[in-house]
Symmetry: C3
Subunit: 651 residues, 3 copies
Amino acid sequence: MRLGVCYYPEHWPESMWEDDARRMKAMGIAQVRIGEFAWSRIEPEAGKLQWDWLDRAIGVLGAAGLEVVMSTPTATPPKWLIDLHPDILPVGADGRARAFGSRRHYDFSSNAYFEASHRIVTLLAERYGNHPAVSAWQTDNEYGCHQTVVSYSPDAVARFRDWLRARYTSIAALNAAWGTVFWSMEYTSFDQIDAPVGTVTEAHPSHRMDYRRFASSEVARYNRMQVEILRRHAPGRVMVHNFMQNFFEFDHYPVALDLDAATWDSYPLGALEEFWFSPELKSRWLRTGHPDFASFNHDLYRGMSKQPFWVMEQQPGPVNWAKWNPAPLPGMVRLWSWEAFAHGAGCVSYFRWRQCPFGQEQLHAGLNTPDNLLDIGGAEAMQVSQELQLIANQNAKVATRVALVFDYEAKWLFEVHPQAQDFQYGPLVFEYYSALRSLGFDVDVIPTSSNFDGYSLIVVPPLPVLPDDLPQRLRDSGAHVVFAPRSGSKTVDLCIPANLGPGPLAQQLPMRVWRVDAMRPTTRVAVQWGSQQGEARIWRDLIEVSGGTEVVATFDDGHPAIVRHQRLHYLAAIFDEPLLRAYLAAVAQEAGLPVAHLDDGTRISRRGDLTYVFNYGDAPLDAPHPEGAKFVIGSAQVPPQGVSVFQVGPV
Amino acid sequence: MRLGVCYYPEHWPESMWEDDARRMKAMGIAQVRIGEFAWSRIEPEAGKLQWDWLDRAIGVLGAAGLEVVMSTPTATPPKWLIDLHPDILPVGADGRARAFGSRRHYDFSSNAYFEASHRIVTLLAERYGNHPAVSAWQTDNEYGCHQTVVSYSPDAVARFRDWLRARYTSIAALNAAWGTVFWSMEYTSFDQIDAPVGTVTEAHPSHRMDYRRFASSEVARYNRMQVEILRRHAPGRVMVHNFMQNFFEFDHYPVALDLDAATWDSYPLGALEEFWFSPELKSRWLRTGHPDFASFNHDLYRGMSKQPFWVMEQQPGPVNWAKWNPAPLPGMVRLWSWEAFAHGAGCVSYFRWRQCPFGQEQLHAGLNTPDNLLDIGGAEAMQVSQELQLIANQNAKVATRVALVFDYEAKWLFEVHPQAQDFQYGPLVFEYYSALRSLGFDVDVIPTSSNFDGYSLIVVPPLPVLPDDLPQRLRDSGAHVVFAPRSGSKTVDLCIPANLGPGPLAQQLPMRVWRVDAMRPTTRVAVQWGSQQGEARIWRDLIEVSGGTEVVATFDDGHPAIVRHQRLHYLAAIFDEPLLRAYLAAVAQEAGLPVAHLDDGTRISRRGDLTYVFNYGDAPLDAPHPEGAKFVIGSAQVPPQGVSVFQVGPV
Amino acid sequence: MRLGVCYYPEHWPESMWEDDARRMKAMGIAQVRIGEFAWSRIEPEAGKLQWDWLDRAIGVLGAAGLEVVMSTPTATPPKWLIDLHPDILPVGADGRARAFGSRRHYDFSSNAYFEASHRIVTLLAERYGNHPAVSAWQTDNEYGCHQTVVSYSPDAVARFRDWLRARYTSIAALNAAWGTVFWSMEYTSFDQIDAPVGTVTEAHPSHRMDYRRFASSEVARYNRMQVEILRRHAPGRVMVHNFMQNFFEFDHYPVALDLDAATWDSYPLGALEEFWFSPELKSRWLRTGHPDFASFNHDLYRGMSKQPFWVMEQQPGPVNWAKWNPAPLPGMVRLWSWEAFAHGAGCVSYFRWRQCPFGQEQLHAGLNTPDNLLDIGGAEAMQVSQELQLIANQNAKVATRVALVFDYEAKWLFEVHPQAQDFQYGPLVFEYYSALRSLGFDVDVIPTSSNFDGYSLIVVPPLPVLPDDLPQRLRDSGAHVVFAPRSGSKTVDLCIPANLGPGPLAQQLPMRVWRVDAMRPTTRVAVQWGSQQGEARIWRDLIEVSGGTEVVATFDDGHPAIVRHQRLHYLAAIFDEPLLRAYLAAVAQEAGLPVAHLDDGTRISRRGDLTYVFNYGDAPLDAPHPEGAKFVIGSAQVPPQGVSVFQVGPV
């Protein structure tokens, strides 16, 4: 549990570096990330390498007792390289190559860029791999930012064809798997297959889904190339990448598998504004961010990180890149920092040391203002640094009995094949997560391949493709498992299973989804669950049950709304929040879990023997705590934007 | 009056065909449409023809006593053909060719595709033209679907120039007709004329209008080519095309003129969601469709069909292609079927026999589920099949005394030249139609070229170009004629008539539209009609009258709101619904027509001596019927989603 | 103070010209603009010049005693010229050349078009430069209309590189000025720099800002070329251009500097519908236009015109080019005409003499209908012509003590770098202007380079780049100066000033903007100003003050909302209207200005010793006037859409 910062020595006069390093150290910062956009300074012209300034920058930081997180500079290939190899540029759905002049202007499938990246990473690794001040390496920067995962370049299409060859072996197998006979779309050769874009009406969904899978795998391949070089030259260093919040266009799990630690960039206010939240929620949490947003990501990245995950970039004040960029309330930078540690973070690293007075992000705050005075965020970071001394059990685990299954492919599938325009994976997953957090649970966000031992409650948001062995593995875990609608509704080739939905789950939970009902956003259907009433929206699976499956709740037209078989539960619709919370609470109680009922501004997390209480709301709150709890930070009264931490029993 | 179904033998194992055919027959189905997307199976590679499977499929169906409606497969040219002739692909307004991978990826003006179509249709017609099981032929599939009428390819532009040459003879005549001197747009050669697209601001309206006319005529030419081949090889067979609901981008009348029967594809729920209806109406009729939507189309296609029209594709459950795809209420598939027959349909053919588990439409319901169990739609189709036995006078006519004039070019003209953004032909026509239906009338939807004998009331929705002889022909009919605003406001070249609006009508109805007033959607102007008050919206013609024309109603600023001369009436604005209904009711009474006042969920249709009552509403209704009426189907109490049919006097 | 009209002899049979000229003269029209779209008639084929018809048209007008305003026809290059030089066409952000077929289809940077324009203007000037009937020349037509200032053609990019070379001298200087090191965007040669478009995420803001400046300078260069030719051949004639309302994409000041008179095209209803006004305001002023819209433009163009400005095109009835095109209320054409004269116009020229029955604008009203009868607008123009005789002091000045600083670059900068999506310069400037007008002030709209002598109150809407000497010059003027937020927040290179905002102003008004707070549109922050309360929205500068700067008002979280230092005031936020008006009223009173409180439909203007009262509202108003005022036009009771003019003391 340490603090870090992101720093750009190339943006500032060299005369400032020493003072910057001294002040970082004095503030309690342990590590400094550098270099991820510095290619044009390292190699201003083809082959003309300038290491001296970087040698000196690392030297100054190291001399001050700071650890350096060195980044490969591949997120921003310089102009001379683009001019040499214009085929590096990604190509949009409109068939046009994107232009130089911002960042991430490269195609993951570009052969020229793969070679150029290999070369610059090798040079960098050779020079600094064994540098004593460099303790970790970051590959590239925010893969997938600005919708750059999917490209439609000739290189991409050529590699896609190879990917299809490897996956299907024969063109006949592909035709059969996709069902290209529909609308006469049959192929006689892999070389006939283009990118699924620009068609008169929607392209074949299996084709589109495979293109998404292919594009995702290209990211993993590209990252693996960098990590392999770095491991060779930088033995013992921690390998990381900074994933960006909510960029789900590629599967993070295989990328994280090649790293030592997953790190992510946390911008709670920018995310609130730019993502799916309703205007009401955007106003409600304008200056705090949504209380479950950062938590969800902490729990997600903790679930894929071998070492404790990091927040590589922590929002320190207003950002510049959302449609509106409000200032956070005083206290929020501290709250966000503690929230990360409470969820198991090994490091919280602020972005950036000092606000930069030029370029695209000149209105993005830093810990210091452009005229080099400490900003609010800087002051709060210093407070966190001091408070960290009060925490004894720095390496405690986050122990949870509740899990949420997360799957990147599910998101792509519902984009390829929505059936209801607003059936979107991200927001729906967030509803389930948020409901669990409002009941006071710590949650593990985990992939389908996880070991499920030890969980008492597992929630499976809409998971259209159920791996064949998953239902049995979930049942064998002994946990209560709650499945959302559309679970098991597709085969891996994006077809309807021969036994209809829920596909392989029907063996453990005998039922059949014989029809789906995709509703307008304002449509509601009443649900009766015992004496409780609630509402369904967006989607209904129309179900018939068999083999001992029990109907727990019904819609007002008589169709089953919730069915269960022993500890396996199936929700046939998206429910309104009160009904969802109530049902999850009931299942949790049955599973022996203690249930809290928190208001929307109160959130609780546990790590080791400490309990953290966060107040996102407008009024002071009374931290729910047992007799004898000892407050390590704060007190039982948590002010707005405040954090309290208590321990039960003797410290 | 018979039932049919759409079937894709190529999508299913051959082992299922016989059972499918047997069950169809048992269900009461008489005809089966096949083949419209089967090109890649008929000719998997250039010149490699595979007839055997199709021979067997037709054989199985014929052996079961089913008639086959064979389709030409030209809606989906296969990949090898596109690779041979990339100029088959249509070109968008963005200048880019559309890609292979869905359907309708061809340009009606492509010379290569004209030839390729000629060849495959000939081959098909030669093989099956005289097959005893094949009783009808469908050309292509849903011309115009997915905005494919207008293309901007080099072939299209070249043919457009020829079309202009034929229309105007000399470039001077074109310059004069269009008025190209405005903004220095004069041409000195037909070869200088491009497609009217991509200009800095709007292109010349006469240019745009002629491009729309040209594109429409290309559809008719293409269809005629297919029909001529088929008639040569398939003597005595019924020639049809399945028009798609609300695809008004080409003029259906000349296409229908080349056919024996017009057929259309009826998707009441998909249409409600995808077309112009307000969010309130979309919620109100979510699971039934709008009560006047299918009726309007029945009446439209009946008006252009030499033989009784068909519904070629009847929605059997939820579809997949709207933004949201709700399930219809139980009973609606039966109601829609009876509604078609009540409006004169010769056949109702369901789309499709069985839901397909792969491809773009895998969530489109069928009469059977993908696992081959009977779905609700299938059960309702069986009920209709049994009830059809109860109808004695199967070939009765729909006799009407009310007509609505419909004109495809009017739609294009208001798109080219709206003046008020929401002055849209389709929705406005629908308002007049709906008002007439709410008054209990059966309505003929007819073109301007019709014979008007026998009508008592004719409504002319906004018809900007009045053929010179039309006003006199309408007056001579003896009917009351109600003209909507903007009637006669343009010449055929899309200019203002020398005598201003209503152009040639001013001879029969002396008046002059000296100004137009195009209002914001929320603007309302009060109208006083005798003691009644109402509201105008969207549009006002400011009028001065002469020669005995009478001012019947006025706006609150004194301008005439309704004027009439004997039996010719002119509405100077778009009125709110109550005023429109009240005025039409008054005119109808004056014309001697019996007027009903139906609520929005009740609709009545008459065919022969039978009266059909449809309940689209939520509550049971008492069918308005005379003493002594005998109910052939249902009773005087019509349940929600119910149909009752009665006969007056002895059966 | 005279009337004019726009006329297109080429649109009408020559037989009508004489009668048209006679009626113009009889109506009191003094000048007639012709020729701006006539290229295809002057030169129907390359080199084939046809002067005879134009000779005759000018002859007819001159013989009737009318002065001719001759226009260069360069807004509409004919088709043969485009076919000869396709590189004339502008290129959009999508990389595609715009097509021929409307107007303004040329690139200001096209070398071919520069030459072609030089040639046709020379030919025209040689022929008519000394014609006695031609008293003035208009260059081109509405520069910038239809977003045509910025183009991305190869010619434009090549000229941009030259422009950068001239501005920065060395590529190192450019890299330093822009800060290209951010995201590795450094250049080693000017030839590497492309247009800032098509990038993966936003292009560098300094790059984008310079491209806007470059594009603007291309307009001035192009216009200067035309003016220089015309001055050479047409000595003594008045040189004008007709600027279009609200087309701020190029800096009008340098263009106007090359002219004798600035003229503008006034379409109050079209502007209301097409520009930023809220739906509520669009409905409120549907048939009058916003009461401050035409005034603002009059005051803007008066401020850049050497001779009295003109309205070159005055809306005479409904237009055709807005989404909805309502008819103005009777009286508005007269009101708009008088409003122009009250603000100092030298001429009001109506567009157009007669509504044209063909082409894009066939539903644009004229003074006469297409069938050549006088329309309402024509009748009102005649009334104005007669009333003009009642005004004795025709050349009186508009004397003002209140100024508003206007800056075109500010608009571009906030588009390039908004930080809050709805921080838009045009609407914000309009808010300040409207507040001043509601307080009864006449207002000069002036550039930053103005002499500020004689003003008592100067309002500076958001002005991000403060010229170094401006703060001192404003303080030295002795006026009270009110600065809006974001003043001085950027350097000329679009970076943050070294001392942060307000940059150079901090010397005169000691303060520091250490953070900005960009809020959602619905966010409000309470402001306390003495005992008054108000609300802030859109934007807040968070300020700390020093050196005697006083905090006048605060936000509810304690930050300063208004600060002042002597007569310099700084508003730290965008305020709601009541607070803005109240504060400006208080400052005005302190500055010794008489303050009125007008309702939203009442507006007052003064010129010489006459006071004009305009009634935009729905009810008669009592004109506020002193004892002994003598009404020259109208009376103390001003009817809706009425104008009254009074003089104080003996006339």
